[in-house]
Symmetry: C2
Subunit: 225 residues, 2 copies
């Protein structure tokens, strides 16, 4: 058994807070990001900066060969990211088919290879966009599956999918990040940033972030211009 | 709802039989193979030939960026693939961490994007190498997870993971393939073929294949030289 852990690091507020939580627990962090053709590729630069600043042992950006980029507005630049429509649809067009399943599966493969037993994901089921793969029942089912489908899960201590932000509001996440000393200027949450990486201010993710900072009584250093 | 289905197609005997089973059920087949740095890359040529011969609507070879190739003898050319050791170890060194989890996750993402509801995998839990991700309890857990973590699983008819060979012996698989008209010369099973693609005759997969043909009373057109 090691103190190795995997942290899924998108470069956003939530995954950055997860990284600091894992570090605060004394874990060695192997940070995993994905280049999946997302229109908000600026987040990969932020992930690099966060991994460096907060002492990840290794940062891996895996190239993810998505079958049908046009299946989501997040990966098809010709589609419009909805603005000011938080909660308007049950599951919005920014949903990427099976994204967290893919992310967690790649994390699991890496975890098994480096003898890590904990995988952190910044999923949140309160102030979120309504994606099915952010819900607690999905994460529990993934953990069960992971422990049945791997050597480490069946012969040695099992894997744990850690989602410490799952039941937090955005206000609580911002507060927790601030308590842990997170430099928010390094994080990027927007689904549709401009070419310079500045947030749009209108997508679901920007609206949730703004709400979190406002309710926490803090100023977002990366607020939209 | 469509008649679309995904078939995980490695180019081996089992997945080729799955492809023919799906076609015999009248399904439109979208075949999915992976380039994950396997030393037996000849199987991708076989997968292409099989997809073409048996009328797959589309054949996709996804590049899979494995985190630690050295974690398996199948992806590290400097490690030796064990010979004549079938059953000697609970889980052999040819095990690739979370491989079927990764394969099925990519299949799931494609399935959701093209409105397919059935995913075929040639997993077999009788005459097999002892990999944990070939067991029925793993496949059932994956299906449960898939239906919790996707839009299609939560809002429309769910996904089914089909493993029609799961409870078959190799003899039964060979017989079923023959009944469906499978041209066995197009299939490759060896973990460690020579540069010309000829099977080694000694790895677990070659031994299982040989046993299947012998017990079925058939001659393997691709038997080792």
């Amino acid at each position: 058994m090691t103190d190795n852990s995997i942290v899924l690091l998108s470069g956003g507020l939530d995954s950055a807070t997860c990284l600091l939580i894992a570090r605060a627990e004394g874990l060695d962090v192997f940070a995993l990001s994905f280049d999946y053709g997302q229109r908000h590729a600026v987040e990969l630069d932020r992930a690099r900066a966060l991994a460096g600043r907060y002492g990840a042992r290794e940062h891996r950006i895996a190239k993810l060969d998505l079958p049908v980029p046009a299946a989501s507005a997040l990966t098809d630049a010709s589609r419009r990211v909805p603005k000011d429509s938080l909660g308007a649809e049950a599951i919005p067009v920014t949903y990427v088919p099976a994204r967290n399943t893919l992310f967690l599966s790649h994390a699991l493969a890496w975890a098994e290879a480096i003898d890590a037993r904990q995988i952190f994901i910044g999923a949140n089921a309160l102030d979120y966009s309504g994606y099915p793969d952010c819900r607690p029942e999905f994460l529990a089912a993934f953990e069960t599956m992971a422990n049945l489908g791997t050597r480490a899960g069946t012969t040695g201590g099992g894997f744990r999918i850690r989602a410490p932000l799952l039941a937090m509001t955005k206000r609580e996440i911002v507060t927790r990040g601030a308590d842990l000393g997170l430099d928010f200027s390094l994080t990027s949450s927007c689904y549709d940033p401009d070419p310079a990486g500045r947030p749009c201010g209108g997508c679901d993710s920007c609206l949730l972030r703004e709400k979190g900072f406002r309710e926490a009584g803090l100023t977002d250093p990366n607020r939209p211009p």
